[in-house]
Symmetry: C2
Subunit: 135 residues, 2 copies
């Protein structure tokens, strides 16, 4: 994979060669997750039609759903005004984007005030992670 | 502003003391913009009920809409599973989140394939930026 295509130059890659990516569900417009891509990941995403991210912790390409089956079929790709953030509109296979077995990674809700607040998990676990990642 | 409240410790601030923030419109669920916050910005956001970001270019707090009037009234704040990304659900005053005068910053759409692609501005300018930022 060369990932040298001209259209990739429009993206302002950060000092690590990465760009933040927001994955949003087509239809509901739910924000499912946030991740990062490098040039190769974005190129492969376009080529395959499925979301491929760069895992900063594992330092390798991460084809979302490669273990869980919860792949993301890409319907649309957008770039922001500063050209340094990507928005993916995806169909979330299995309806589960989060490794905790929830629909969205953004399941912790703030309540309280600026002096005394708390974060509470408010969305249901749809599938036990034990059963998502089969040994 | 101390920004020492315990609930702020739940957030995993990056090496610059920042967290990525996605602003999403209440109701439509449109993703409006992406920005960053430090502890002080998030604390002030909760205290004021209006989005306050950290401007990485200007290196100072940025009360969104302070010049344009296009403030964001915060309805809900969410944190993701890794506790390192914040999602704001906001009411966008003036319907314009982008400094280009568009509803959303994500107005550039990709078309093509991985070898030959292009980005095209597909959303309308609702108000001329010249008239948003009055001298």
């Amino acid at each position: 994979m060369s990932a040298k295509a001209k259209w990739l130059n429009k993206v302002k890659w950060d000092e690590h060669g990465l760009v933040p990516v927001i994955a949003q569900e087509v239809g509901s417009n739910h924000v499912l997750m946030f991740a990062w891509m490098n040039r190769d990941a974005l190129s492969r995403t376009v080529e395959s039609g499925e979301a491929v991210y760069w895992s900063r912790s594992r330092k390798k390409l991460w084809h979302k759903g490669e273990e869980s089956g919860h792949i993301q079929k890409v319907h649309e790709i957008r770039l922001d005004c500063d050209e340094d953030v990507v928005l993916l509109k995806v169909e979330q296979v299995g309806d589960i984007a989060c490794h905790t077995g929830r629909h969205s990674c953004f399941f912790q809700q703030f309540s309280g005030d600026h002096q005394k607040g708390e974060w509470t998990a408010v969305d249901p676990v749809l599938k036990d992670p034990e059963n998502i990642y089969k040994k």
